[in-house]
């Protein structure tokens, strides 16, 4: 088991390194750089910058160096000082700009996962055990719907209905009084009161998928021999159901925990933009559009990091749950 964990940890580190390279390439893709972008913006606002001004900008932000130099400087800064670079737009260190947003995104992701599994697992079990009943069909239909509605659309619709009919907007993360307050339990509760909407929206697609998978797996498992054998030993009722086929069906669900988390993190920027939640998502979008490259890159790395850690944790969870994986047996 230890060997398993250490192997996964090593892979994790290599992955992070690889991801940093890919991220850097991506943010370097757009032609031109921040200085040019900045100049173009100023120009359209009426101010023109001279060539030497632009050159100075480039000099200051090190935009003249080769791509390798800039990458290594950046990585070195991260590894040695925890310095993720400077945001051109805000003229402050990247980490300062990001600030609390990492916490918000993490909270959103965790809450979404909680909702997803809390809702999906009971419904999946119910659907499988009461196959072909009205409830099963209803949930199946809702499941299909959940998979077909893009999350941003759901968020938009919720926003629309709440604005039109209740006169309060469900967007945003805090009530005005908690906006800039220091952290406290009350502030945390206030955040939960707002963030649950985004969490529900994000949870929809994942819930639908898990219900389908769980239902299919459970239908498969419940007619297997070990269930009949347990029944023959006198195990009955709920215990027979939960302890044997449900427990076995949980394994495929657990194995996808990492991917679920990845999907949630992936979908959160769009939902956050629509619902005006000031987490990493909207900041990422704006930084991309203004080519604030260190900011965009750092945000992308953090998002990838969350995915990677999530996958790692899910692998560990699966090893705990499945003796076959722990013991290295090929299934």
């Amino acid at each position: 088991m230890i060997k398993y964990i250490l192997t996964k940890l090593a892979i994790m580190l290599v992955t992070i390194f690889f991801v940093s390279i890919v991220v850097f390439i991506i943010i370097e893709l757009p032609p031109g750089d921040f200085a040019d972008n900045f100049a173009a913006e100023k120009a359209s606002a009426g101010e023109t910058l001279s060539q030497s001004d632009v050159e100075n900008l480039k000099e200051r932000y090190g935009l003249n160096q080769s791509i390798h130099e800039r990458y290594f400087k950046w990585i070195w800064g991260i590894v040695s000082r925890g310095d993720f670079g400077t945001s051109f737009r805000y003229n402050r260190p990247v980490m300062m700009v990001i600030g609390e947003r990492i916490t918000f995104t993490t909270c959103l992701a965790l809450l979404t996962i909680l909702f997803t599994y809390l809702i999906a697992i009971p419904i999946g079990i119910y659907s499988a055990m009461r196959q072909y009943t009205l409830g099963d069909y209803a949930f199946t239909f809702l499941g299909y719907l959940g998979l077909s509605i893009p999350s941003f659309l759901l968020a938009l619709l919720l926003l629309y209905f709440s604005t039109k009919y209740t006169n309060t907007s469900i967007g945003g993360l805090f009530s005005p009084e908690f906006q800039n307050a220091p952290w406290s339990f009350a502030r945390f509760v206030d955040m939960l009161k707002h963030i649950w909407v985004a969490a529900v929206v994000l949870a929809v697609a994942g819930t639908a998928k898990i219900i389908r998978t769980l239902r299919a797996t459970l239908l498969d498992e419940k007619s297997k021999l070990y269930v009949t054998a347990a029944k023959a030993r006198g195990v009955s009722g709920k215990k027979l159901l939960l302890k044997y086929p449900v427990r076995v069906a949980m394994n495929p669900i657990a194995s996808t925990l990492g991917w679920e988390l990845s999907a949630i993190i992936s979908g959160s920027p769009i939902v956050a933009v629509v619902l005006s939640i000031p987490d990493m998502g909207p900041l990422y979008l704006t930084s991309l559009l203004s080519q604030d490259m260190y900011l965009a890159g750092t945000l992308l790395i953090f998002m990838s990091l969350m995915t990677i850690i999530g996958t790692f944790l899910s692998d560990i969870l699966l090893a705990i749950m499945d003796p076959r994986i722990r013991l290295g047996i090929k299934i």
Partner: protein
């Protein structure tokens, strides 16, 4: 039915309500199981033997329905438990399963949960049916594993089924089945998936355990050689009906039903000419939904009497107290 009878099956019919139609898995069978004896049920695939086994414990799937007949368990000679009338969720059934009647399955790999140790599954069974504590149950589990011949039982009790070999798995399953000292053990093809040497060991183990624990065995198989070693009474089934029943001597030395006769002839014998053809029963088993009138075997029976066998179900002919046959030809012969 006498004072030695432990389990009585009377005219049992079980139908499956499937999407494709109604499947008559068992169509009116009757047999008894005496105390301390072994009843063998022999038949090809589709004969209904597994359904019979599962019916005794009422662990058939939900699509199955007991259409007619009785299953009476004479734990108390004067007051039988009418298994066929008990509702599915009955606590009496729950108590019986695993304690009075246990089952050994064909595929030991699939019969164990892949995520629980074999010890866990045995301890669970013990704690369900006896007042033992967990510690006591664990000790009993190790004791049983040792008794069935598993080496190093202290280590094995915490292992998973995939860590054991085929033979060991089957022994473990026998251990669980016997751990609660049941009156009847139903063995559904317990040696079919094992190789021959292991098979012999398992059969010997079962015989030893039977002597030690004083229990009855219902042994289900398609292998006549195995049944010859194990059974006192034999029921020969075909397509859901019992063709012939008798003691092992009667079946093997005085077979009467054409099906039984041909089954025995089909066994290749050591010493027979190497040029000789294998004697197979002609024809194929009809599909499960092809409903036939009359005797189920008549489509393949070399002695079928047209106009009789294909129209009316044969009546029972008794050759002795224990030996009976369901065959028109046999009835005609005596005339």
């Amino acid at each position: 039915m006498n004072e030695k009878t432990l389990l009585e099956v009377k005219d049992l019919s079980i139908y499956f309500n499937l999407r494709e139609g109604v499947l008559k898995a068992i169509d009116g069978i009757s047999f008894n199981v005496d105390k301390n004896s072994t009843v063998g049920i022999v038949g090809e695939s589709g004969s209904g033997k597994s359904v019979t086994a599962q019916a005794m414990m009422r662990i058939l799937p939900d699509t199955a329905e007991i259409k007619t007949g009785e299953i009476n368990y004479y734990k108390d000679p004067n007051n039988p438990i009418k298994i066929h009338t008990l509702p599915d969720k009955s606590p009496i059934l729950g108590n019986m399963r695993g304690k009075e009647i246990s089952m050994i399955f064909q595929e030991p790999m699939s019969a164990f949960s892949p995520l629980h140790t074999i010890g866990h599954q045995m301890i669970e069974c013990l704690m369900l049916h006896t007042p033992m504590t967990k510690q006591e149950a664990r000790e009993r589990a190790i004791e049983m594993l040792a008794k069935v011949g598993i080496s190093n039982p202290m280590k094995r009790v915490d292992q998973y089924s995939f860590e054991l070999s085929g033979g060991m798995r089957q022994r473990a399953m026998i251990a669980i089945a016997l751990s609660t000292n049941p009156s009847i053990v139903i063995a559904d093809e317990p040696t079919t998936s094992l190789d021959v040497t292991i098979q012999a060991q398992i059969l010997k183990l079962m015989k030893d355990m039977q002597a030690e624990f004083n229990m009855s065995i219902i042994f289900i198989t398609h292998n006549l050689g195995v049944i010859a070693q194990m059974a006192d009474m034999i029921q020969v089934m075909y397509l859901g009906k019992i063709m012939e029943s008798g003691t092992a001597e009667e079946i093997f030395y005085e077979p009467r039903h054409p099906y039984t006769i041909n089954l025995l002839k089909a066994i290749p014998k050591i010493g027979s000419s190497s040029n000789g053809k294998l004697e197979a029963i002609p024809g194929q088993i009809p599909g499960p939904f092809d409903i036939q009138k009359g005797c189920k075997f008549c489509t393949r029976c070399p002695s079928a009497i047209k106009g009789l066998c294909d129209l009316r179900t044969p009546e029972l002919k008794k050759y002795s107290e224990t030996h009976s046959v369901s065959c028109w030809k046999c009835l005609e012969q005596e005339k």
